[in-house]
């Protein structure tokens, strides 16, 4: 992981990879959200990352912390729904907590703070069948020194692990028992974002 400043090229590559993951999987995320939510998660994420991409030159020109805050603000202001404030808070807090050249430990600490901010915003915790159920294990793996391949695997398993969960936050919670048996859309989008980042950092899939 980067020990020198994360520069324009890296920020561009990371943002582009995340955006492309959201664009490519918008239909799948919407399908997941149709099963246990209101069927807009893919559209929401697509709209948010379109906004990020539209501002990408300006964002990527900033130092990493400012770039993360700017991207987070785009998500807050453009996504709407539950995921907008949550992903926006995640990226904005990352930006607040991180330095321009984070090492693994700094990144893990910043992600922990960002996850805490998401929990505060969402009045939620892990185990409720949300994006947190992917973000938290990914942070733990990162903090524990896992390899990129291992982190990717953790994200995938964590998303799969939301399938048997019963939702107690988000729209899916209205379903009660009927939320069981479906993957949480926000968990899936978190997994996809983590994979995109891993792909850039690890060089390819």
């Amino acid at each position: 992981m980067a020990m020198t400043d994360v520069g324009e090229a890296a920020i561009t590559a990371l943002a582009t990879a995340m955006a492309e993951a959201m664009f490519a999987h918008a239909g799948e995320l919407t399908d997941l959200d149709q099963a246990i939510g209101d069927g807009d998660h893919g559209l929401n994420m697509k709209r948010g990352f379109e906004a990020v991409m539209a501002e990408l030159p300006a964002i990527a020109a900033k130092p990493l912390p400012e770039a993360l805050k700017a991207a987070g603000m785009q998500l807050v202001m453009k996504v709407g729904g539950a995921s907008g404030p949550l992903y926006g808070t995640l990226f904005m807090t990352l930006g607040k907590e991180i330095g321009p050249a984070p090492d693994r430990q700094e990144l893990a600490a910043a992600l922990a703070a960002a996850i805490a901010a998401v929990k505060a915003r969402g009045k939620s915790d892990t185990g409720q069948k949300t994006m947190l159920d992917v973000l938290a294990p990914v942070q733990a793996a990162l903090a524990a020194g896992a390899s990129i391949g291992e982190i990717r695997a953790v994200a995938g398993e964590a998303a799969d692990a939301t399938v048997p969960m019963r939702a107690t936050k988000g729209r899916a919670s209205f379903l009660g028992e009927r939320s069981i048996g479906h993957m949480d859309p926000g968990a899936r989008s978190s997994q996809l974002l983590v994979e995109a980042v891993c792909g850039v950092l690890g060089g390819g899939r």
């Binding site: 919407t30 149709q34 807009d40 709407g80 995921s83 107690t168 729209r171």
Partner: protein, 329 residues
Amino acid sequence: MKKLINGVDTVLSESLDGFCAAHADIVTLGEERKFVRRATLTPGKVALVSGGGSGHEPLHAGFVGHGMLDAACPGQVFTSPTPDQMLAAAAAVEQGGGVLFIVKNYEGDVMNFEMAAEMASGEVMTVVTNDDVAVENSDFSTGRRGVAGTLIVEKVVGAAAEAGADLAACKALGDRVNARTRSMGIALTSCTVPAAGKPTFTLAEDEMEMGVGIHGEPGRRRVKLMPAAGIAAELIEAIAGDLGAEARGDAILLVNGFGGTPAMELYVMYENARAELEKRGVRIARSLVGTYVTSLEMAGCSLTVTMLDEEIARHWDAPVHTAALRWKM
């Protein structure tokens, strides 16, 4: 998907343009279509700002005008609007009396309005509506959803604000009306989110969704289609059961169509709901029957009961002049 649109990307903007052109005497469209506001504002009055995902028309923009809202922020279809919209709306209509946000209880809406309230420069208070009794185990969920009862909160608080109530009084009244209001609905068919292009859910020809949400969210359970009397009995049982001992005396009965159900059927439902309520000692003192809080073209309806007191009745009866609700002016 069969809709009268030019495309899924323009449906919202064209609809808002049409709405504001058709009702130019009442409303004005904000810059970048971030909000719909009253054409004329009243200095000193508490500014009422609501909003939510689109697809529930006439809620909320149809209730902007004298005696109800000052501004409404339309989100994408079924998606909460964003904080920049609420900030722009609040800035445009705040007249020195502070701003009251009226928010339906969905995490998306609540969080986005919350972020806007944190970022806003002036004084902001928030009423969160959560009238949907379909959500039974609200401890294990994000709580009850805000549905058609929101219109009653907007009407009553709107009248109070017009009459000069201050921000804290408006907030307290809004909470009180919400606490006296319960709703529940059923769906006969699904809606189709334009951008999704296909129905949100599917029901067999003999099925209905009992307790459906206004985004087509599943309700308590999927059941066989029932006669109107049976539907009314179950909905009123849920509503009155939840109101408990409060379900005595005068009430507003709102029979609300979800978009695809015609007036003929809504009045059949009204007749059956009225009978159920009167059996239980609730007197229907005020009635509203129509298509007010919708779920795109979904067929179905909801029943809403608000227990009245003198203050709520007086504000309900006060003049209102909006695109979708108008009386005495």
